[in-house]
Symmetry: D2
Subunit: 472 residues, 4 copies
Amino acid sequence: MDEMKPASPAKHSLLDRLKSLRHVWRDIAASLGAVPKIAPELPEEDAELLRAQMRDCLQGRGGEVSARARAANLGRSYLGLNAEGRMKFLTIMAEEFGPDHHQVDAAMSEVSGAGSPGQRLAAMQKLRLALESAQLRLLTQFNGLPDGVKFLVDLRAEMLSFVEASPAIQFLERDLRDLLAGWFDEGFLEMQRITWRSPAVVLEKIMAYEAVHAIQSWRDLKNRLDSDRRFYAFFHPRMPDEPLIFVEVALVQGLAANVNELLDEQAPVGDSAKADTAIFYSINNAQKGLAGISFGNFLIKRVVDSLSQEFPRLKTFATLSPIPGFRAWLDRHLREEEFSLLNSEEYRQIISLPGGAAGLAGLLQTDWSHDNGVADSLKPILLRLSARYLCEKREGGARVLDPVAHFHLTNGARMERLNWLADRSQKGLAQSAGLMINYLYNLSDIEANHEAYSGQGRVITSSSIKSLLRQV
Amino acid sequence: MDEMKPASPAKHSLLDRLKSLRHVWRDIAASLGAVPKIAPELPEEDAELLRAQMRDCLQGRGGEVSARARAANLGRSYLGLNAEGRMKFLTIMAEEFGPDHHQVDAAMSEVSGAGSPGQRLAAMQKLRLALESAQLRLLTQFNGLPDGVKFLVDLRAEMLSFVEASPAIQFLERDLRDLLAGWFDEGFLEMQRITWRSPAVVLEKIMAYEAVHAIQSWRDLKNRLDSDRRFYAFFHPRMPDEPLIFVEVALVQGLAANVNELLDEQAPVGDSAKADTAIFYSINNAQKGLAGISFGNFLIKRVVDSLSQEFPRLKTFATLSPIPGFRAWLDRHLREEEFSLLNSEEYRQIISLPGGAAGLAGLLQTDWSHDNGVADSLKPILLRLSARYLCEKREGGARVLDPVAHFHLTNGARMERLNWLADRSQKGLAQSAGLMINYLYNLSDIEANHEAYSGQGRVITSSSIKSLLRQV
Amino acid sequence: MDEMKPASPAKHSLLDRLKSLRHVWRDIAASLGAVPKIAPELPEEDAELLRAQMRDCLQGRGGEVSARARAANLGRSYLGLNAEGRMKFLTIMAEEFGPDHHQVDAAMSEVSGAGSPGQRLAAMQKLRLALESAQLRLLTQFNGLPDGVKFLVDLRAEMLSFVEASPAIQFLERDLRDLLAGWFDEGFLEMQRITWRSPAVVLEKIMAYEAVHAIQSWRDLKNRLDSDRRFYAFFHPRMPDEPLIFVEVALVQGLAANVNELLDEQAPVGDSAKADTAIFYSINNAQKGLAGISFGNFLIKRVVDSLSQEFPRLKTFATLSPIPGFRAWLDRHLREEEFSLLNSEEYRQIISLPGGAAGLAGLLQTDWSHDNGVADSLKPILLRLSARYLCEKREGGARVLDPVAHFHLTNGARMERLNWLADRSQKGLAQSAGLMINYLYNLSDIEANHEAYSGQGRVITSSSIKSLLRQV
Amino acid sequence: MDEMKPASPAKHSLLDRLKSLRHVWRDIAASLGAVPKIAPELPEEDAELLRAQMRDCLQGRGGEVSARARAANLGRSYLGLNAEGRMKFLTIMAEEFGPDHHQVDAAMSEVSGAGSPGQRLAAMQKLRLALESAQLRLLTQFNGLPDGVKFLVDLRAEMLSFVEASPAIQFLERDLRDLLAGWFDEGFLEMQRITWRSPAVVLEKIMAYEAVHAIQSWRDLKNRLDSDRRFYAFFHPRMPDEPLIFVEVALVQGLAANVNELLDEQAPVGDSAKADTAIFYSINNAQKGLAGISFGNFLIKRVVDSLSQEFPRLKTFATLSPIPGFRAWLDRHLREEEFSLLNSEEYRQIISLPGGAAGLAGLLQTDWSHDNGVADSLKPILLRLSARYLCEKREGGARVLDPVAHFHLTNGARMERLNWLADRSQKGLAQSAGLMINYLYNLSDIEANHEAYSGQGRVITSSSIKSLLRQV
């Protein structure tokens, strides 16, 4: 899902921060004395040193304080490796420090052979303990290090690119995900409003992490923090400078239909006191390493609460969202079965347009949006097709194809209105043929909508979208 | 361990706070409409309503926000029950919402029958999931409620008094402990200095929670926060007004030998700039519901760091600690085998003392400490015996009997000096025969001391204590 | 004005804090080396040393940093003096470091002889400079010291008790008042809500400074900070622990008629969400040294704003105030001209009451309020007389006698309702014969009321008070 | 003084902020109802409306709250004027709301005719009051408005450009300066460290206000906040987003000799733990409206304190400063009396250099600094001349010509070392011929140095500079 995908900068964040973290952790580990140097690609002779480090971490000699020092050293070793070395590091950890199979087998036997419910429960507790792998205990120790939680989050981001390679790494990744899911429970998150008074270190990250509508400059960012805007983010107490997810809101009159206007730095500042509508025009997950641990639902709910309190006149809460999979879906279908999408009238119309000789797919490669005549002709066709796409399900499932649609439907929104030429940026045209959609959050319907979609797979739409769907 | 046992007030905190929490949670649950009223003793007909509430919580209809509202309602139901009703509530939760035995069995089969290491790991993941009980998912939801974490901590405190009754509740209590242990990992804790500028709401709790040397009044507390003292506590971000553990420090010259002088409100304020010694004269665990989740080691380490930075002249870090089990141990031994403790010379001396006719045990029941002659005669005997007690191990174990001694030895301290008539308070005489001990934290020895005790069961003592031990 | 008079503790605050301030300032002045010791009663031979110190301060050698060190020394000298010595200190400062008369005369000549408006303005500037005395420059330097502003405030409090003695000290006191008035301009003040989360150091001072309805204990204070109360204070950035003025508010339904009920710690907590009325039941100026620099008007205005925002249901803002001068006024009049106050019917009625033989003045000395019969008989008489007292003007002026009434009328309130047996505390009976009055702050009338009273001397009252006034 | 001159952006700040302030103040003044519209150039018919507004402000009807509303209106009127209108506004205020001459004359008579010292002092108090003009009371009222203090500061900045025009405006400007000097007393200022965690709104202003070495971009700024740098600013509690003065420090080993290297974003980050020297490489006064109210001395003193505490290894505190008046002085002298500056040997040498035919002045217009041969030849000549310039006094005074030199000498620094080609930026070459100087702050000499310069006009220099001065 494009809207919710973390920005690419997260991918490199670990590497970017190597220098400073290794420096900080070196001081923490200073009490341990010199440690053997490990070559970046982790040759076999150095791997043995690494195993010794891991065993040291687990033995826990010297109390927990020393344990953390050892964790710092282990982290420094990881950070000093190149991609090949890291792959080896994770493989060693996953294959050699996984759950103890003997213990697991013994505990399973005990569960099976339990003579009483009480004995069985006690045995199950042992079994659960046995399933907690050494690797998890290793990873947990990073929690106490400065930036240790961020390290684990970014470590998981790296793991995710290796999981295909090995079931052991996949098991390790799951262990880490469960650990992070416990720590990043919504109850622990703090919503903060982001303003021009926020620390530069946070604003800088927001600029890096915004992936839906990229922030061009500090000036662009400042414009998004003006008095007719609101900007909220979730933070975790152990990662105070790192937004986890953030949402950008415009306070306007009526449903916003065009994101380029919202982002225009030259546009006059609106009067927020007169606004009746809050438009969520960008939602971003910022931490790739927290994939699969979702906070979006909660953030939207809390932002709606906060806005309602600050602006009692607000009546409508809606998004202005991209349709990121539309063009790819369209191109695929046009390649495979153009006539199933277009009726003959439409087909004829298209090939008669300037640039239309190669069909719709070809036409969409051109600069069609700047030719009013062509655009007008395409409008009914693309509106109809995008509505169809948005409601299309995954094969064999009850979930719609489009990731952004799936996110908002799950949250209880309904598809409200398609907007023509709503995003004429290069990306907007390439992904969504310039179309955008408003998802409407009607507080009194959210629960029923959520139930309809999540329970029965029904997609809730407005009448305008229904009528688009009814067109052949 | 007396020094580390949470204060009794924590036991009642849940009940004390019922009124306000139920009020707050009612508002959160308001969206759910009216809920059926449950009688305090939880009669069988109401138990069915409770089961329905629990199932509702677990089904998670309406997204996570609604789930939290349902958790609030469930919490309110619990708070409305009396002791009998709560026991039933926990029994229902533990017996009916424990792990799913069918799923566990199925997963165990899959693990056993796995055809490849990869399949086995995948099956183990399923097994781990199956072992996560419904009750744990129920409890986790309280995290998002205001004061929900404190509720869970106090709930565990209540559970601990029921665990003997049922293996199911014991399993539940373990589930909850593991959940809390994850949340209260040291990495998440924040050390704060407590001063007379701290919020009254925090100071009030510290007064309630101090159990080693009870705080008599606000004036007494203020005295412990004066310029020649330091006071530190750990807090968790989700329980900002609740100290988890705290330590009181006096900045003095030389090892302090008497706690009554330290606590004397009339004593002149010392000059902290001249202090060479920091005396930790009281350490308290404040949350009964976090029993078994230890932070003391970490707190002491961080306090030493903080003090070293603020007062570079400090050379010695030591405690002035009670010997809480001494008198009970002494009385038991005197009853059972008086002659094994005392040599005939000592015995004769004692019975010749005023009040000594009934032997040492009897003499200690009298007001002996105010009779200088008697006290002088007892001094060598009690010093010798207390040294012996302090080094005595649990039957069959490597751990010393005295809980405070065990705590500090585990942390790497050594037994430094016994102090005669160091605590003449009623409690000090009743528990420790007025004796106190300094445990010394010598930074360069901590690791080795810890290793000696935890690894090999060796108790590290100063030469003065060694010579007491060598006396017959 | 009793309600607005600062609490007695402030009177001694300087002396109380001597020890610590002298210590802190000693460190600041350390760079100056040893200073001559001055005897507490400031004998003449030491006075010369003091003059030298003052001259040193004014010469400003070594830049402003050194100047502050010298100010610290001068302050320490003052703090070391006894009452006699301080009187001498202030006399020396006032008489020898006042304005330079030669410079003033010269500047006045220049003004008088100025040849052009421009020259005259320039000369007036010189004159203004000449009128700025050396003593003011001396005092200003304390601003930069820790607690220096509080020192000056308390210094003025001390000066105020000496002003009668000498015109020079009066001039000095005025200089200091003008200096403080500039610094304590309302624009610099910060309103803070006081809660049970406020720092103990602030709460402790509030307990000391509350003079209208004394705070008995920490528990009493906590009761005044409960959820059906609000408590606000003004602070100055340079005196962050010192409340300047504070107001206590109860959120109730309808006008409160009895302050003992409001202060009752056993009374159930009200539901603030249902309140329609905010009762200001205690307003205290906390700093005697800021006498004549008023913030009360501003505080009430801002508290009304803050409450209106937090509780939109509030319709009425009123006080429940003492009538502090009533009994004294009554006794004086009864002594001088009893028959002008009472008509013969009333007089006869009073002497026929148990204890009334000695007339009203004598009766009010008895325990009359606990005798229902007597109290019922006195009620109409005292209500009538108190209404008359409240509206009575100072001789030859447009200002009412009662200081609390004057304060609220100036602020634009109106006299709303007299409350019988509204304060049965010893003080309430002694000062106000148990009566209290509600002053009503009706936002739309405040300006007109203020104008009527301040401009034309008209006292605005409700119809119920008007009808009391119409009675003979 | 270039180093200390506020940045040009401050000049326009008032105009830049018009829009938002007028909006905010409109809401504050809303209670007053509609106000007459005043044309931007303030024609005579509108001037009468303005006079009425000013009189309204002064009458103070309706209490101080209304007074502030009127001040808000008056401020809005000013902000709505153009330059011509503002000049008229200030003229009206200065000429018609200045001191009351009759009152002043009467008070002067009373002082002259006083019969006793006490009467004279009382009369002088009246005189002082009479000299407090209505305009000052008007201006003081802005203190209570949001951003009112900043308004007054910027208003004074505007006034300063009008003072030549009228003695009345000059008197007004002095009134305002005295008011601001009281409010901005060092005791009220707070030093804050500026970091990359500071609010963007503050960093943005620092970028605008830095005038010594302009900040090119956010990246440039971030570089100046790196771990081997420190950045401090003074703030006033009523202008929390507005730095008053700031200083940039580099932590290095040995005296820094080249500012371009310090500012190089590509240079590696230094190890602050190894630094022995703190180089103050940029000091900026940020508020033009506070001209003549100096904080630089205090800031340097406090920064030295703060750095000494954080980095006990620091031994040397020095600046790396421009010599802003050198080239202008040189050109003037070369024009007027070339031979008095250069000896014949030097003269001959110069004209023989490539580009030197037109003499030194002409040569310095060329790109001489990139020609090593030419630069080498000029080095001894320019070093000698710059030393001479730096020590040269103002005609008839004891103050050196160079403003930066004067600032640091007054603070007690000594001239330590001239650095060749230390600033090759366009500005550095144009103003200082690329030269820079280190002023050394030796803590133990500061007081004596200050005394030598401020008291006796002696310029304290190092031996290296002395030897330059001894050359002919």
